[in-house]
Symmetry: C4
Subunit: 327 residues, 4 copies
């Protein structure tokens, strides 16, 4: 495994990391999580992504129990969580969801620590921007989590460049802990935030990226070329919002073409797509999903593929994907 | 229920909220409080106002026990308390009352947390200004409560605009938690602080308002038009200071006229008076009082009345009340 | 009892307060301390002065046990301690004494809290200046005690005006808790620090004064006019350093003259001397000593004497004492 | 024993101090450590140097147990530790070693406190510079250790002057605890950092020095003049990296010449070498090694030798060593 710094921060994360969205609790129980985390750690993966909202809090519980069973020294892994949507199990309350206000955030970190069974969480994120809370209020709450020893680093997910810079500037002015990373969607068809909007932030504030959805929710595996197969994420009831993009004809045709390049390298289309993300030096780690160890091994194959991606191949890939970039 | 931000802060409070002054412990025991809070929460009210001095500390105890029995997730409600007058039960001591000095404030928050049986209080107020303590001393103590995790937001009650701005500026300069809300008296006959004195603060520092006495201590219900009926607040021995204003002839005549407008809308005068307060967008929440569930339901009716208050009706109301504004 | 603010701070202290130097543990055991503190509290005295070094730590222990037995609400009394000389019982170590470095100060506050059996101490002082420790190091340590909730206010004792101002400026620049009071020697024959050196500090930084030795170690009682009587402080073995000034002929002659004025007012010379100190509005409280309740009552008589001190009498007193001022 | 301030800081350290590198756990068990520390404390030594990495954590454990058995008041000794290389016993992890990132540092201090069995460590060092972590991240973590009460002072070891100044400036700008000391190698043949590179730092930021290797790993004892004797540090398997410099012919010849001067003073060459280091007033303390009490007594003899080092003798020493300075 290779490691990169989280932007300018001193923390080192593996180029590939493991997410828990959709999978934990839904597809993966504690036993399976133990198996997956053990395999990932063996392969050198050291970052495990999570969020309060994944599986309504169960994802944190499953991961926490699995980590406890693995009993690795705490320095061996980096765990994240993210705050914004709140927990459905707490019922409907106006300060419970869709917010980054102090009341929500201060109880959210305590809840996550309890569900994980950890004394601190390495990375905490604002899962989405909240236009209805002053950035200063959010920055103070996130920084306070670090001061209180409940978290080590904080960042954002899917924020605008302007809001990230505002958060950084407020922290600098008031001597608070600054945001160090952003978690954007980033794959062959979704590139604008990472490549254009954030362009100045990498040097100016040392922003690191932990990117999600390298396979465009599965589209880049090629498995949706003939519609939505049973048993896939696209077929899950709660994932209906993904169906249209997963069955986009032009994109599926492009995926077929990318498959040809992948085949030339003895790789799968998915491996090619993941490898492509790692080629961007601004990316600190690519969060990949896997519900079975075999899938994890498959993803890991992307690292070798990345070594084969010459400038010429990168150009061929770009020629196929660039015209279809939609975000 | 509709919700508003607490000024520029991200916290959301219900347009109507429930106070405990006079009522708790005096008129409302724990059983009754449970019933009232349950009804309020059911109606979407999420802010419950309190103060150290209400019923000599018993109001916090009653509310705390009632909240414990209701056992709602903490995110569902916002609780306040206020510090200034101290607790008579602690005996007579020169640093026990009429002060906002550090010694008083630091023990006051600990006392309130204990009486409430809560781990933190959402909103803490300086109940009155203290001209004998430097604002910086008070700002540091209030901000320290937040840093220590004992409170989430702090504000003032019945402070001058100049003192609020001074507190905000000290916090900004020394990187402390800033005041975010003020609790002023505000009703048809008492309007100057909210409408004139604080005018610049709403935009400049994002001040939120949690207003008290929407019914002018009951005057705006119309029940004092023929003097002080037995069993009313005005008849309580400790409320003698209210009697003169409650029996003011001109104001009672105006209340009669307002009653005519209310009747046109199928509403009570009290509902009209509460509705009028909610029409001011600077008001975050109107703190209402109620000693029985029926009164609470009555108050809630004000929300529908507010929807009926056209600019024309607002002008008619103003024409009646404006000449009698005395604060 | 009358009360004054501690300089510009909001804390209120009684005009007369009670010290424990020399007396506690040496002349006063826990039972006697309970009696004295009860009498003092009854008389409205709310400030009890102490120091780590008094009676080698025993003075804090005796006062702590007495306060515990009295079981008064914490708001009723203000307790101080002071750090500089360390505790002999800890043996000889180079960082144990004559220092205000961080190592010493951080253990000193913890030791005092333990000896007192209190959760916080109201006022903590740097007992003397330490030219061998940077003022910033001392300011940070004192401020940290307050941030950690172990103390409420901090100040200095017998520091130069320049050092006090430097400490204040460092705290202002780094947003730390500022020093609010100084404890200087102040009596009819020792006036320069209070009246000249600190002159600008009262307005500029709001410095409060808790003055010690209003009777010049007993000289101003008149009891040393014929030498050192047995049983007096001047006769104590450890107080040899006081003997020369206690038997100064010119000063004892002046004390006789002051006694004449006192007699005119039906007061003792000691009462006159204490009353004179309270006439300076820059003095927040005069720390008096007493080993028996009768002495305490005597001291309290000074308050009535102060009311009788007309400008004319003040001039007569000054004419006698001013020429002999030696500090 | 004589004592010096740690640079401008108020902390006082003995001119000679005792290190634990190589010796503890390897050559010295708990019983021997008790004997050595007792002898050192008796001689007035008050600073005991340690590091997380020494003997893989065992050095901290041995020293902690020995200190516990000695049961001296905490003010009597100053203990250090240093962070950078991590603990091999925690296995191989990318954030476990060769780093000064927040994740590593925050767990390192907790681990050291546990191994020592202490509530705080007096001096904590960044054991080496980490070019892959922003200095601000490291400064915040080190300062946070102090704010949390886990450490009293922080510093660096073998950092460049530029990096030390950067760390100091970041702390000043953000109002954090500043670095106060640096631990460089310093002996007759290794002088550039202390004498040239840091020259401006002594006055500008008050840097103190706790220097290591006064005997150049034993070279300056003269025992390597005929090669590597069995049983010496140079013969230890893990110390192979030292052999070349230990057997340098020119340096060993110079050591012989220094031995002549030492003999004139009735001293050993080692005593002369240690004495020479203490002559530099920028040095706060010279960390010496000893695996037996006799060695410790030998080292202590250097203090008397230092008193004999006249300017003339210092010139003679310089004439011998200066041409061979290699660092």
């Amino acid at each position: 495994m290779r490691y990169r710094r989280l932007g300018h921060a001193g923390l080192r994360v593996s180029e590939l990391s493991l997410g828990s969205w959709v999978t934990y609790h839904n597809q993966v129980d504690v036993n399976a999580a133990v198996e997956m985390l053990a395999a990932a750690l063996d392969a050198g993966i050291n970052f495990f992504d999570n969020a309060e909202a994944y599986a309504g809090g169960h994802s944190e519980e499953v991961m926490g129990q699995a980590l406890k069973r693995l009993n690795k020294p705490r320095l061996h892994y980096v765990v994240s969580t993210k705050f914004f949507w709140g927990l459905d199990r707490q019922g409907d309350a106006v300060n419970r969801k869709d917010t980054l206000n102090r009341k929500y955030l201060m109880q959210a970190i305590d809840g996550s620590l309890q569900r994980f069974g950890l004394e601190h969480i390495d990375l905490v994120y604002c899962h989405r921007p909240d236009p209805h809370t002053p950035i200063e209020e959010t920055v103070r709450a996130m920084s306070d989590m670090i001061t209180q020893g409940k978290a080590l680093y904080w960042g954002t997910s899917e924020w605008s460049a302007a809001d990230i810079r505002a958060a950084w500037a407020i922290a600098e002015r008031h001597h608070l802990h600054k945001p160090v990373m952003e978690q954007p969607q980033y794959h062959l068809f979704h590139r604008k935030k990472v490549e254009q909007e954030y362009a100045r932030l990498y040097e100016d504030i040392g922003l690191g990226l932990t990117t999600w959805s390298p396979l465009a929710s599965g589209l880049l595996t090629g498995k949706y070329k003939d519609g939505i197969p049973a048993g896939t994420r696209g077929a899950m009831e709660t994932m209906g919002f993904l169906r249209e993009q997963l069955t986009d004809a032009a994109k599926n045709a492009a995926v077929q073409q990318l498959g040809t390049i992948a085949a030339e390298l003895g790789a799968t289309t998915a491996q090619l797509a993941i490898a492509w993300v790692t080629k961007n030096p601004r990316v600190s780690t690519v969060i990949t999903g896997a519900s079975k160890p075999a899938q994890l091994q498959d993803n890991l194959g992307a690292l070798a593929v990345a070594d084969q991606l010459t400038p010429e191949l990168m150009q061929r890939i770009d020629a196929i994907a660039q015209p279809l970039v939609s975000g």
